[in-house]
Amino acid sequence: MNDRVHLDTDVLIIGSGAAGMSAAIAAHDLHARVLIVDKSLIGRGGATVMAQMTVAAALGDEVPDSPDAHLSDTLKAGRGLCDEILSRILCEEGPGAIRQMERWNVGWARHPDGRLRQVEAPGHDRPRCVYVDFLNTGPAVSRTLRAQVQRRAIKRIGDLAITDIVVSGGAACGAVGFSVTDGRAVAIAARAVIIATGGLTRLYARNSASLNMGGDGYALGLRAGAELIDMEFVQFFPIGHLAPRLVGMDPIMWDPFRYKLGGRLLNGEKKEFIDRYGVPEDNRYVATRDVATYAILKEVDAGRGSPAGGVYLSFEHVASGKLREAFGPVIDRLAANGIDLAKGPVEVAPIAHYHMGGLRVTPSFETSVSGLFAAGEVVGGANGANRLSGNAITEALVFGRRAGVSAAERAREGGAGSRVQDAADALALVSAGSGDAPRENFAALIVRLQRVMADRVGPFRTAKGLSAALSEIAAMKAALGSTPPLEPGRFRPERLDWFDARNMLLAAESVVSSALRREESRGAHAREDFPASSSKWARHQIVSLRDGALRIDLSSAPCEKVAAS
């Protein structure tokens, strides 16, 4: 049962969302041997499959458009902190990626004359966002890429948790992990490694994440010696579903409703309020995510929240026929949950949704560790301090392709050689066990961390709260200890919790430490003790792990182009 598995490949990709699968396709098409692995099932975990909303690209199908106009909106939303080189790659290569998906029959919604339908999302200056009906964008993107991966017979392994990147002589040369289903230790030798594990929204009590979104990639990167940037910027999606309890639907589902039908955001007194925060919505949907999140939480703080602690979202002014036309069978799924939008509002509140920070990369998507690449949400910089709606799937497709090409080229050059001893510590850890039943409930520990992050490291932050969060994280690290519980074996959730918590605590610490240092408010990072933005903080904070401790450096010049290294 516990025999060790050795695998060998040119390019190893960790994570099978849109970024990982795009990378796999690109690397394979350059004749690299590719292995794509995921802690969950292939193409079914992560954020992509959950995305019910829209994908931004300057296609010009709806109205004339240009990548420069998309870039201008992206930089504006990023509040002066975008890495412009990465943002430009996203905007310039976005249209090609969307057309490629169309050729692979993803099924973007179309006008009768064949042009793709594009809607206007908050923060965009014109209709730019494509989608797949009904609320089906993410599943369609996932399915389409998965079909391409399968068609190429790319080797893929699900239920495989990667626990550490193996580094030899300063270069990435593989990874170590374990099989979730049978506990076997796995060592993978690779000429290049791509981290495509997505974000860290699972760190928060209320989130729109899959189970495998606990920030694995940031922790894997840090332990391998890679640098992270902008870790303090966690995006909260302002109108996550709150009440009544709704099953079988993603909590971020109200976004497409607002794109198509506007909808009114009302406080507990059933009055509109967003205009008081500087953005007159007038039954449209224009407030950016950071502004809307701020406005909603301030209303709740002032005692003007809805019964469940959010605000109301109302479509009562929209005729039922129109609701049915826009959302078809989704209206029936709502009815099964006891929701009739024509008759009453639902309650919504901000929910952790996306991470702007992440691995610092060059334009070829290589991290500061040679041979270690990154793609998708796990990359930091492209979206600055606040991501523009619709950029997440676009960056997954575009960055995934770029990282796949770079990694395949590196593999062709030979990559780093691996030595058995460089994997020894990582292999010892996945094979280790205390032998005993765990002294601590690590599932409960994860819930405790999620509460601390929600209460102290949410959209509003103070030095006092952030310092308290750091102490609590230190206490949880001590409780976790250095040895996983039990012994390796068949589907042992306690061991998976332990390895998840190990990564989650390191990712959380990097968020909190960065947030404590940034003494200003900007985009998604709102400090109640430093409410204004400061031009001297128009810089990136760079996080690294040195001798087991996090270190934070400030990028040397304001608005430095971090990708230009």
Partner: protein
């Protein structure tokens, strides 16, 4: 708060079949998966079941038998009665409610060894 009683099949394939009985408090509308996740945090972290997307019914990973019927744990609702939960009968059993559901060519094979 209402209370459901979940009778859950436990153990690995070669173990003698056993059952655990958990009482779970819930708000009306909550799912069986909500209940299972609460049990892991409050009562028994060793309880094994599969899920990924939690609520969206997008991953299709949480399929189990609820009172003998194939259901998604994330859309089956908790009810104020005894509910009997078992692993899928037509998939290789791993532990408790967890089964091997990955397609054969997307698994770590027995032959994967170098």
């Amino acid at each position: 708060m209402k209370r459901a009683v979940l009778i859950v099949r436990r153990g690995a394939p070669h173990d003698v079949a056993s059952w655990s009985r958990f009482e779970v408090s819930y708000e009306p509308g909550e799912s069986v998966l909500d209940g299972l996740r609460r049990i892991r945090v409050q009562d028994d972290a060793s309880l094994a079941f599969r899920y990924s997307c939690i609520n969206a019914n997008a991953c299709k990973e949480c399929m189990i038998l609820v009172d003998g019927e194939v259901r998604y744990a994330c859309t089956a609702r908790l009810e104020e009665r005894e509910m009997r939960l078992e692993p899928l009968p037509n998939k290789p059993h791993l532990r408790d409610l967890a089964t091997e559901i990955a397609p054969p060519d997307e698994r770590l094979g027995r032959g994967d060894n170098g």
